[in-house]
Symmetry: C2
Subunit: 266 residues, 2 copies
């Protein structure tokens, strides 16, 4: 399971404040504790809605902190292709990820030139297009096909494409959970070699005990073929779920990681 640490995101109040106050130590601490907890990529998002110039300057500031720590794999998370381009030029690590492209024509048009210049990057592709987020599995597969073709034509290797079928809340429609899970299964089946990812907490939006739902939904997603997740890696509960699910679904040879986890926690 490839873990993308989600904590450095300006939509979180503590991060927005740290960016505002230019509190390098706080950001550094949040990055480091995610790495220690097993994050493979550190998502960086400075989108405070204050415009491109401000976002570029904030992202560069975040980037410099991460570069100072070392060659840390970064996931550049912005709705602005210019911001993504500027950030990619600045990352020290050769292993980096773009978050994200989707099937919208405008997004493709603006982001594709950036991807062309950085086609060794890993790229998250969201299954939505100009008609919004599809209500069924079939349309998600169709958009996946469009994104995969575009990216492969631009020189991106299939193994570097991470498709996120965008889970919608079960409180809105109780079918949303299975639509997501079946999408994961079908994407893995229809596009061999492709990877899947998601930010799964949306599944529990509007319901009580969200962490409980999120944990079990992560387990189900792993069983249906999820390769990666954008989560809080510091959350021990989430790490436990990943370990248990990998053992149950044949991804943990001789259950060695599971047994190790049990020993450490006892």
């Amino acid at each position: 399971m490839i873990i993308i640490g989600e904590l450095v995101n300006a939509t979180r109040k503590s991060i927005a404040e740290a960016i505002e106050k230019k509190d390098r130590d706080y950001i550094k601490k949040v990055v480091l504790k995610q790495i220690e907890a097993g994050a493979h990529y550190i998502d960086l998002n400075a989108g405070t809605g204050k415009g491109q110039e401000r976002e570029i300057s904030d992202m560069k500031w975040l980037m410099d902190i991460v570069n100072e720590i070392g060659e840390i794999p970064v996931c550049v998370d912005s709705s602005d292709p210019i911001v993504i381009g500027e950030c990619l030029d600045r990352i020290k690590s050769k292993d980096r990820m773009i978050n994200s492209i989707n099937g919208e024509n405008k997004r493709i048009e603006e982001l594709l030139p950036v991807i062309k210049r950085n086609n060794e990057c890993k790229i998250i592709g969201l299954t939505m297009d100009d008609s919004g987020i599809p209500v069924n599995v079939e349309k998600r597969i169709e958009i996946t096909g469009k994104i995969v073709k575009l990216l492969e034509d631009t020189g991106v290797l299939r193994e570097n494409i991470f498709i996120d079928p965008l889970v919608q809340p079960i409180s809105v429609d109780v079918k949303n959970g299975m639509i997501f899970l079946e999408s994961i299964r079908m994407i893995k089946k229809e596009f061999p070699g492709i990877k899947t990812t998601c930010g799964l907490s949306n599944v529990s939006f509007g319901l009580p005990k969200r962490k409980l739902l999120n944990k079990y939904f992560l387990a189900l997603s792993i069983a249906f073929g999820l390769d990666s997740a954008i989560i809080d890696p510091v959350d021990e509960g989430m790490r436990e779920v990943i370990c248990v699910s990998e053992a149950l679904t044949g991804k943990d040879e001789y259950c060695m990681n599971y047994i190790k986890m049990c020993r450490q926690s006892s």
Copy 2:
């Protein structure tokens, strides 16, 4: 989720003792607390290995206690077809289950006449035959086909057939978890209308923190199409897993049961 309460089983020391001492009150208490906890069927097993005569007499004794409570749906659990036949004649409830038939020729030959006389019964069918428990999904589907044909030819309705694809420990082979899950999915796909069930705790045999593995494996099984489980219904953790999994997989309209559970536990 159809819950078969597993607690009245002579392989459990406290039950063996209660049978030995003819402690009616204890058995009655165990039956009642399973019903209160939501069990739909009460599994009764008196197989102490002391022979047919003793098993028949012990089973009749158990049966009488259950009948005294009322028309409780019972799951008659014995390796001896004669015992099963005798018990079925004695159950008050019209809703009863046989645990179990499988693909072994001897078992079929002996149990089929009993089923013919009681073909309104629900029947658990295990995917094993004279070659043992299969190591792959395909063979499990093949045995399912054989059992389904035999039972339907005997007048059993498909909706009353519960196939158990027999989960094997992941400590023996890490692929065993996915083999079981894929079997569940394929059985539901290949035999529309059929039900699936299992006694899932075998998955964690030989590993630490078995309850943790069992809980998550139950969740995964529900997502792959498990309709029923032979479990300890008194275990609050198990009930929570069922409730959460049903909400996540579209089986809990408007998440009403989930919300109710959260209210009760807070």
